[in-house]
């Protein structure tokens, strides 16, 4: 640490970065317990009534559930199509492979609003009724690339020889996948699932264009905020922050498991 010279300065800078990042979130969490109609000072006292309000707000609960439902669906789609795509990219030669590998990243780079408009036009053309499923499909196809790139990178890192060794020992394709390939990519896959879920959970551009009658949480919050910032919104946000922390810890555990294995 001495290399950085002035210790006070470094600590100060680090603290201010952390403060800019997390102080607003902390303030929001504090206000979710504030016994006041408005988000702001003075602090009138501790209350859980905004959480009560939240848990009796049918519309809010429904939209949370919708978001979770869409997120899970997106994870399923991206795993179901992403894993085979990653394995194909890693193991087989096929025409247009180079192009496919690059183009697969496109949905992540394209602005969500463009993807949304394109998908909306497409769904309307084939007369698909807009619903949670169309959101799922829209986000899932876009977020598939997270799974593909994460799993593909892991497969490349693992190399072929473990799978070859298994085949050489008489294992069939399924046994190779079950005993060698899947354990090898498990943590990468878990990481990709977390990323896909959390991106899906707060996605608004594609969702805004593709939603039917049901709303996801970001949409509901958005429409609430257009009227005023109620402490109930703070309560929801606080819960989501805690959920995110749990997901981050889970992700760290998954990648730590891999660090041990990769030494082998």
């Amino acid at each position: 640490m001495r290399a950085f010279g002035n210790r006070t300065l470094v600590t100060g800078m680090a603290m201010s970065v952390l403060a800019f990042l997390y102080a607003p979130i902390l303030v929001m969490m504090v206000f979710s317990f504030n016994d006041s109609q408005y988000t702001g000072l003075p602090f009138n006292g501790f209350t859980l009534r905004w959480y009560e309000a939240l848990f009796s707000d049918e519309q809010m609960l429904m939209s949370i559930w919708n978001s979770v439902f869409v997120g899970l669906g997106v994870v399923v789609i991206s795993v179901l199509f992403g894993v085979p795509a990653a394995i194909a990219l890693d193991r087989y030669e096929f025409p247009g492979k180079g192009l496919f590998r690059r183009i697969v990243m496109l949905p992540l780079v394209l602005p969500g609003i463009i993807t949304g408009i394109a998908l909306l036009g497409f769904y309307l053309t084939i007369h698909l009724r807009l619903s949670l499923y169309t959101i799922m499909l829209g986000q899932g196809t876009a977020l598939m690339c997270v799974t593909i790139t994460e799993v593909f990178a892991r497969l490349q890192q693992l190399g072929k020889s473990q799978a070859e060794a298994a085949a050489n020992l008489g294992a069939n394709d399924w046994e190779i996948f079950k005993n060698v390939t899947f354990p090898g990519i498990r943590s990468a896959l878990f990481g990709a699932m977390l990323i896909a879920f959390s991106i899906s959970f707060d996605e608004i551009a594609v969702t805004f264009l593709l939603t039917g009658r049901e709303n996801t949480l970001p949409m509901t919050l958005w429409s609430l905020l257009r009227r005023e910032v109620t402490p109930e919104v703070n309560a929801v946000a606080t819960l989501i922050v805690f959920l995110s922390i749990i997901l981050i810890v889970a992700g760290m555990y998954a990648s730590r498991g891999h660090a041990n294995e990769s030494e082998a």
Binding site: G159, S161, Q162, E164, A165, A166, A167, N168, L169, G170, A171, N172, E175, N179, V180, P183, G184, N260, E261, S262, E263, A264
Partner: protein, 362 residues
Amino acid sequence: MTTGIELRNLRKLFEGHGHASWAVDGVDMTIGAGKFVTLLGPSGCGKTTTLRMIAGLEMPTSGQIFRDGQDITDQPVTDRDMRMVFQDFALFPNMTIEDNVAFGLRVKSKKGKYTEPQIQQRVAEFLDLVHLKDHAHKKPHQLSGGQKQRVSLARALVTDPKVVLFDEPLGSLDANLRKIMQLELIRLHRELGKTFIYVTHDQDEAMAMSDAIAVMSQGKVMQFGTPREIYDRPANRYVASFIGHAHIVDATVDSKQADSLSVRLRNGDRVGLRGKADAAPGSAVGLMLRAEDLAFADAATDTIGGRVVDSLYRGEYVEYVVALNGNSGVVHVHARTDLPPVAHGSAVALKVNPAKAHVVVH
């Protein structure tokens, strides 16, 4: 019917970005059952690709592979029952050492062949064979490189294959460990009586362990023979210069008898040697001279004249670098350390051991 592995005009084309090259270019070879055969050559000579084709991990572009007279060219890797030991060990990191070794006994294609107690007994037996009995419940990342390679070996041997393939198995180990493992492999080959096909770029390793060596270069087998044949009677310049510290000096055949011949160097010095050569009098050949086959002598007929340009004290011997007269080339000479040192620049005469000097035509 031949027993063992037979390769017939085996070829493999590798296609890269816009260009293609023959990684293996017409390999013919018969590897007798129970033999220890090494494919030796520099990286990119096609030795690993040849091994991978024998294993079924790579499909030949053309040519055939026979095993005990039966064509197995199109047989899938899973059914070949030849076990491979990989350079990077290729252990399964999520399984214990025990489960790694048991893997080949538990696969579906082996179902019913062994009961679970039999599997455990066999695994224990083979872990004992490679001295890893106490590590059965560890994970691969807890073992050292040498231990990992022994696990890989046990995993290959436990299924009782007739043929074991080795792809530079000692390549990632340090020199001391490599020597120990070489002895271990020789012992296992002797005790188990299986065919070992071994790939390496290390000629000392190949010489020490093999019944026969195939020296490969640019996808072709340059010579296939016993280590002694390859060392003493290399078939061509490539093999002569690749194996051991040989120097090849340009010469012309002077005269030729039934089992001896005489060659003349560029500077006019004449060397007589025993053996046969496939060259008529007057034709250009290369005279292979190894440091241990040369000795300082008094100037006389049948000696080569030169001048000492360098000397290196090696402990076991003194290595002199001698430039031959008439710009004929440079040779190295090993001299006993108890002899008086020869000063730089002094003129010397070299006597060639006629039984060991050898002529290469190509």
